[in-house]
Each structure stands twice: as C-alpha cells, then as structure tokens.
C-alpha cells in the first residue's frame, strides 16, 4: 500500500554515465515533483509535472530530463553524471495546485541516494 515509491533506493555509478530514477504514486494525484537534497540536507525543488505537463522547471542543468509517461509516474533521467550530482533525490505528489485559498499537501517518497564516483 505504498503511496509514493522510488526505484532504486541506492544508486552508485561512475562519472559520465547516464542513469534514471523512477517514481510512482498510487494516491490518484495529478501533480508530481522532483526535489534534490544535497550533502548539507538542503532541499530544493527541481521539476513539477501536472497531468503529464511540465509546470515547474527550476534552474537545473539540461543533463536532467524528467519524463512523465502518465499521471502516476514521473521519472528522472540524468545524462553525463558529475560528482556534484551526488545527492538524495525525492519524488513527491499532490493534488494539483488551485486558486482556492489553500495549498495541496505534498507526499514524499523515501528518496533515492545517488553517489557518483
């Protein structure tokens, strides 16, 4: 009954490789997110998709390419991995943002710990 799941949990790879991280949610949400947590635990949003459409794209190198094959999945592909990409990547999901006077709660996955050697 996992709500937001990510695979793999751990990923160790060499510089220059290409890798993908997968995220799936079974909460029926339309909106999904990728966040990056660096070695100092600082969390920052990278991307957000709403109903398979990209709605947030922060200043992330274009080596990072999100793909949303359907509303329940948001994958993150990283080309030409660099040492600085080592981090924990969190996927999250929520109902879509609206103009009502509240913010939709985001539910987070367990994270994917990426180590680039």
């Amino acid at each position: 009954d996992t709500a937001v799941s990510q695979t793999p949990k751990y990923l160790v790879t060499q510089m220059g490789n290409d890798k993908s991280i997968k995220c799936e949610q079974n909460l029926g949400h339309d909106t999904m997110y990728w966040y990056k947590q660096d070695s100092k635990k600082f969390l920052k949003i990278m991307f957000s998709y709403n109903n398979k459409e990209l709605i947030i794209n922060e200043t992330v190198p274009n080596r990072f390419s999100p793909k949303s094959p359907d509303k329940a999945h948001l994958n993150l592909h990283i080309n030409s991995l660099e040492l600085g990409d080592s981090a924990v990547y969190f996927c999250a999901s929520s109902h879509p943002p609206s103009d009502r006077d509240y913010s939709e709660t985001q539910y987070f996955g367990p994270g994917t710990r990426l180590l680039v050697l």
């Binding site: 937001v4 103009d99 509240y102 913010s103």
Partner: protein, 117 residues
C-alpha cells in the same frame, strides 16, 4: 529576499523535556506554512500545516505549531520529547498562489534534533 530561516542547525534536548524549533519566513504575503520531519535514511513526513484560521495548529506525534504574523514565525513545539523524535525537522512554505500559480515548496535549512536519554 524571500526566504525561510531555521536559526538552529542542531538542538539537543533530554527525553521528557519540552521542545521548540524556530522558523521565520520573509514573504510579502503570509505563505502557506508546513513542518516536515525526516528520520535518518527516510523520506519526509508532514507533521502539520497552516493555511488560515486558528493560529495554533495541532499535528501528528504530539506536535503543535503557532503562527505569529507579527513575528513572521511558525515555531514547532512539543511538550515532552521522546527518543524516537530524534530526526531532522524542516520548515517549509508555499508562497500564496496567484492565478495559475504553482505549488512549490521552499524549505528551510533544517534543524537536527538529538534526544538524550
């Protein structure tokens, strides 16, 4: 500049003692306010949130937070800490939505809580 500040990087308390974790924000309009907890090696779990109304918000695990507009603060409290509360605590905001706005969580740097027996 718009920001979320958690002034305390580390806090250590004794089991059974009370706890207060500080959070200040700097936004023109009061944002939506959240507290998340991250246990070691785990994802983020929502403790509580404030959108409007009663300024004292009750959350899970015995936590509460008080919104003070005059101080731009949203401090997290717990009257009696348990050893299992040792974790990283993140204050986060979503700036008030404008038409077509996006549900982007902006995190503070986190406060690491250690609990002594």
């Amino acid at each position: 500049a718009q920001s979320v500040t958690q002034p305390d990087i580390h806090i250590t308390v004794s089991e059974g003692a009370s706890l207060e974790l500080r959070c200040n924000y700097s936004y023109g309009a009061t944002p939506y306010l959240f507290w998340y907890v991250q246990s070691p090696g785990q994802g983020l779990q929502l403790l509580l949130k404030y959108f409007s109304g009663d300024t004292l918000v009750q959350g899970i695990k015995g936590f509460e937070a008080e919104f003070k507009r005059s101080q731009s603060s949203f401090n997290l409290r717990k009257p009696s800490v348990h050893w299992s509360d040792a974790a990283e605590y993140f204050c986060a905001v979503v700036p008030r939505l404008i038409a077509g706005g996006y549900n982007k969580l902006i995190f503070g740097a986190g406060t690491r809580l250690a609990v002594h027996p």
